[in-house]
Structures are given as structure tokens and as C-alpha cells.
Amino acid sequence: MTAPYSADQPLDDLDQAILDQLAAVLTRLDPPPADLDDRVRLVLALDDVDRDVARLREEHLVGAVRGTERTRTLTFDAESRTVMITIVDRPDGLVRIDGWLAPGAAVRVELRHPAPDPSQTVESDASGRFVLDGVPHGLAQVVVHPARGEHAPQVVTPALAL
């Protein structure tokens, strides 16, 4: 029979064995996304500069068309800007991203991929619209740079699984 524990009693080997087993069971039942470490690595690889982290506000699955084209709309809020993107699966296995920034401005929008893949960069128009086409599936992160001469932080989204 197990003696009652005092508050200060350290864990014994059986306690630790039970806790280790419980950790393994929890991971089996509710595993983190397989790419969670990679997502964190992608966002941490950004140079350490002044950043405004955009948080996911909402996600809509707009629908699958004939099972080939899937469309998702994601909205991210940062202090300085809102970034809305629509991700369209193309029939050829690539992705098109239609984006919109509010408040709108002509700025550089960068789509970062895990190393060693290079970033893709486009300019938004004055109303804040931009298009990134022919994007491969996989992890990516949107970085919205400040306008030239504007003293504002970069807006960065979390890593997205495209």
C-alpha cells in the first residue's frame, strides 16, 4: 500500500514513470501539429527588428470547387494593420494568394519560406491589394514592410501551412 505523500516529498521513480507514460499518452491523443517546430523555426529566423505581430482573427473555408480548388480566407490583426489573404489552390498544385491590407498603402509584401527557399516579394497597390501567384505548398509567412520613409514596424503573420 502506498504511503500518503507529504507536500515536500519528491517524486519517486514510480511517480516519474507514471508521468512519463501520461505525457506519451497525451501526445498520442492530442499531438501538436507535426510541423509546429518548423513553423516556430520559420518565424524565429526573421532578423530581430521592430515587429508588429499579427494575430489570426478568423479563418473561413470558402469551399471546394469540384474537389480541385479550395479557397481559404484568413484575417490577421496587428496594431498597425489588418492583413486579409485568400488562398486559392490551383489545379496545377500551386497556390495563389490574393491579399488586402487595411489601411491600404503601396508597400512591399514578402512571403517567406523555410530556408533555403528564397522569399517572394510583391508590391501592393495604393489600395493595399496584392497578388502572390505560383506559390508552392508548404509553410510560409507574410511580412508587410513599412512604406519607404515611414517609421513603422514590420507586420508579421504566424507561419501558415499553405
Binding site: L11, D15, A17, D37, V40, V53
Partner: protein, 200 residues
């Protein structure tokens, strides 16, 4: 219980020391060391975010945001224990924020948000192929919610670090030890009476 490895406590102390050493290197700008810290602590942060009632995708975003916030404050953190506590606190705060946004958008039932993300008994039986794992999970499910919440976090924390556990659960630090003792004692009693469970 002679077949239980005797060096578990030593192994987890080594783990804490290793984390501290990696933190030192990460602070000096070593990206690989930071990656290793991420790999080590992500399972805990994931569990903390899920325990706040977040959906999987929301929890993944919260974990990322937490690490981004850390990079800003890395120079202020001195020990591996302080690091883990800081990350856990930030994960909880970020989770509340996300939950608050979700609440404003769709009128979620408060009960849904507060409910624990424990999987239903059905899927657990299918996902756990080993009898001893199913046995453990069934007994854990019989514990009071306070015990389940505590053990979910303690299982992912070294030694366990009471400051970290208190931060993760929003419980007074002083009550962690006694609660942990009671919950584990109860669980051990149930497991000892179950012939389908064995410690290894």
C-alpha cells in the same frame, strides 16, 4: 518495482541543466541552440494552450506568437526555470486574448470554452493501442478535473517545477505540491488495483 529505471530523477536534472546551457547559447545569438529550446518546450506550450480551450490551429498560432515575444525579451531571462515560467505565462495570456477575440465574434457557449480538451473515451480507445495506456487513461479520467488539469501539465514539466506548474494553471504555488501529492497517490492506488496496468 525493480524494473523501473533508477536514474529518472538524475535524467530530468540533466535535462534542466541542458536547457539552461542552451538558453545561454541562444542568448548569445546561437540559432541552433534556440531551435533546440523550441523543440524541448513546444510540447508543454502546446498543452498549456490546448488546456485554455483553444482549437488546434489557434493553439499552434499562440505557440508561435509566444516564441516571437520571447525573442524580444530573451536578454532579460536568466535561468531555464525562469524561461519556462515566462513562456508558460505568455502562452496563457495569448490564449486568453485569442479566446476573447473568438468570443466577440461568435457567441460561444461559455461552458464550451471552459471545457477541458480531453478527447472523448471513444477516440482514445482507438488511438491507444497498448492496454496499459488505455488503463492509465481510464483511471486519469476518473480523477477530479483539478487533478486531471494538474497532471496534464506536470507530465510535461521536469522535476516538476512548481513555479511553472503554478503559472500554467493559475494556481497558488503553495498548493501545487499537496495537490500533486494527493492526485498522484489516488492515481497510484487505482493503478495498483488494476491488473491490466504495469509501470513498464
Amino acid at each position: 518495482m525493480s524494473n523501473v529505471p533508477v536514474d529518472r530523477a538524475g535524467a530530468s536534472l540533466d535535462r534542466a541543466a541542458r536547457l539552461g546551457e542552451r538558453l545561454e547559447r541562444a542568448r548569445a545569438g546561437d540559432r541552433d541552440a534556440l531551435d533546440e529550446v523550441v523543440r524541448e518546450l513546444n510540447p508543454l506550450l502546446w498543452r498549456v494552450a490546448r488546456a485554455q480551450g483553444l482549437a488546434a490551429e489557434e493553439a499552434a498560432d499562440v505557440v508561435q506568437t509566444t516564441w516571437l515575444e520571447l525573442v524580444r525579451g530573451l536578454h532579460t531571462i536568466r535561468s531555464s526555470s525562469a524561461l519556462t515560467a515566462w513562456l508558460v505565462t505568455t502562452t496563457r495570456r495569448e490564449s486568453w486574448r485569442v479566446r476573447g477575440l473568438a468570443q466577440r465574434q461568435t457567441p460561444h457557449d461559455a461552458a464550451t470554452l471552459e471545457s477541458s480538451p480531453d478527447p472523448d473515451p471513444g477516440p482514445a480507445d482507438q488511438l491507444l493501442s497498448e492496454e496499459r495506456d488505455r488503463a492509465l487513461w481510464q483511471h486519469v479520467a476518473r480523477l477530479p478535473e483539478r487533478c486531471r488539469a494538474l497532471l496534464r501539465i506536470v507530465a510535461h514539466v521536469d522535476r516538476p517545477d512548481y513555479t511553472v506548474v503554478a503559472e500554467a494553471l493559475g494556481m497558488p504555488r503553495g498548493s501545487i505540491g499537496p495537490t500533486r501529492g494527493r492526485c498522484l497517490a489516488k492515481l497510484r492506488e487505482m493503478l495498483a488495483a488494476d491488473s491490466t496496468w504495469s509501470p513498464t
